[in-house]
Amino acid sequence: MSEAYHPILPALILGLPLLGAALNGIGAFAWRENKTVPTIVGPLAVLGAFVVCLLNFAAMRAAAPHDPSLVPLWTWMRSGQLEIGVTLLFDQLSVLMTLIVTGVGGIIHVYSVGYMREDPGYSRYFSYLNLFIFFMLLLVLGANYPLMFVGWEGVGLCSYLLIGFWYENREFSDAGKKAFIVNRIGDIGFLIAMFLLFGVFGTLDMPTIFERAPTTLLAGGAVVTAITLFLFLGCVGKSAQIPLFVWLPDAMAGPTPVSALIHAATMVTAGVYLVARSGVLFALAPFTQAIVASVGVGTALFAASIAVQQYDIKKVLAYSTISQLGYMFVAVGVGAYTAGIFHLMTHAFFKALLFLGAGAVIHAMHHAWDESGDHGDPNDMRNYGGLRRLMPITAATMWIGTLAISGVFPFAGFFSKDEIIWEAGVRGYAVLWGTALIVALLTAGYMTRLMVMTFHGDNRSFAKVGGGEAGANRSGESARGRLHEVPPVMWVPLAILAALSAVGGWVQIPEVLPLPNLDLLHSWLEPVFAPAVDVASAASGAAAGGAHGEGMAHEAPLGGGEAFWAVMGTVLAILTIIVVFRRLSRRRYLPAAESSEPRGAASLLYHKWYVDELYDRLIVRPLLALWRGCWRIVDDRLIDGAVNGLGGVARVVGWTGSQLQTGRVSTYLLVFMIGVLIILGSLAF
């Protein structure tokens, strides 16, 4: 049915970002002051890769191959039974992912030109960012688990480097370390899963494993459950789910475009990608799937509740990201892989948009304060207010992003979120379905709060009377003019992402809506997910003793069809936005410096349920105490004691021996003679 599809210039997709990283890396040392080279090389490396990905996409669309294409580059390691090649896997899923990574990544690179222009580490920044794109593409394209793991660790490294980009600030570099260490916990899971896979299959190539898995592994058996659980542990770390989500909010210490690219659009979705990619394995392990979906929905609710009471604009978005990742895990957990990837894609658009918009606000605040002499936390929404008149483009694009993430028709988030909620409901997971709906309303709520605090009401950015050095008798009004829209290099990316957030969901329009029925995504990804779906339906068919898909309801748990709930979702989201908007618009916020901490239940949310404190008490401090004990007792006492003890013994023995040395010749001779007598005596008898 399909002609042959050959990946076009596969090495170039990876090569361009790597080359860019190398050039910019050299530039960071060789021509520090030169900003032209990184400005050209950085974005161009990614956009070039994007063009190649587009060509591949077009070719794959034309050929519509049923099987993945493998591009073996070289053999990485060969040892006995184990053979691992540097092989790239091109199928519908990986090509879609490369498009998202290089597309959104390219836009963010362009934006960074404006955002990071004045930073002394400009070249270094682009070097890391290009390197990140390289590793992310390697993660997505790797045809075996170890190669994917290289990308997995590589993006973790770049994440660490970029979170701690402003490493002079101790807090920021600590945040980088936290991200790195928390991710290690998950990576152990990934590694163990690989060992198990190798033990069972004798290979780590994904196509082989997925082909053999349904016959080799017992569905629902302990082995496949263990493998998938360990894989999921890796996902929990990388995609910031409960209990390993704590690193992501701290990761906001990095430059804002980094948060947009790594900690919203691409890297953190790697876990979702891994589950979707290993769909066959997960379909064989219903228990793990239940865990995945539960963790997902729990995280979605938990993170959304925290986002409601945060004042740092980036923290709100960070918790929002965690929450949305939870949605994606719900989708892949219930077996709706396409829905998960769909939300991954739309989320990449609107969350990148929201982060870049936040970055624009922070950038503008920073500049205005630099000029006016006021100062404070440029990330704190209590210091914003009324910015829509001063930054109209940013405000408009961010409103589009807000509508998209809230799931308002016809923006992108509506279609993907609706599909996830519907898929959970139709498969009979009433609790998941209900919670997902509530989280959708919370999402609309906290995003509206963010928008109101930032763009509406009165501006609170400048001290009324004497805030800055030069402003002893200046009212805030005159300084307000300094707060203005960002340059085109920053707002054009916002506009592109806003357009994508608006129409990005139209690739998959549910049949039941009275709209042109577009079914691009499902049919596109169908060859990739077909094996997993087959396995799942075989399992449920065997359990129910019926034919394929008979267990599927056609109603949500509370009754009502797909169209009803799609409309309801939008209506509820719009209602939430209106209610929150009207209530919060009336509230008067004080600038951060003048406001006090929230009390009562709000305080619990403001302090993020005290999870960091809990981990600190339960894990960090006991571990530190344990290591301190090891240092004081094992190292200082035992090891040093043993070494010093041996030295002491040698000293005592030596001292004793040295007492024989009187220095008197007659003593020596006497001893000598006694020795001779002893020898003679022993010879004689």
Binding site: S658, Q661, T662, G663, R664, V665, S666, L669
Partner: protein
């Protein structure tokens, strides 16, 4: 007087001389005398070699020549050392010379 009796007598003399030598080395403090006692011990041994050669053949007498020549070399070195010690301490009293230790 039989041959065996003479040999026995020579061996007894050798033992007495050797014991005197050992006693002198251990007890005397004058380096020169200690040195002389060492020579005495050597020659006591030489005497027993010669005596034994009466019974066992010529080998013992050959060894004596070696001992005499080595003793001559040793005397040269030993006397040079004593001379050096004397220059340093203005004395050949071994009790003063106690630096031969750690």
């Amino acid at each position: 007087m039989s041959e065996g009796y003479l040999v026995d007598l020579a061996l007894v003399l050798s033992a007495v001389l050797f014991a005197i030598g050992v006693g002198g080395v251990l007890l005397r403090r004058n380096a020169i005398i200690v040195f002389m006692c060492v020579e005495l011990m050597l020659n006591a041994v030489n005497l027993s070699f010669v005596a034994f050669s009466r019974v066992h053949g010529i080998d013992g007498q050959i060894v004596v020549f070696f001992v005499i020549s080595v003793a001559a070399a040793e005397a040269a070195v030993g006397l040079a050392l004593i001379l050096a010690i004397f220059r340093h301490y203005q004395s050949v009293d071994l009790e003063l010379f106690r630096r031969l230790r750690w």
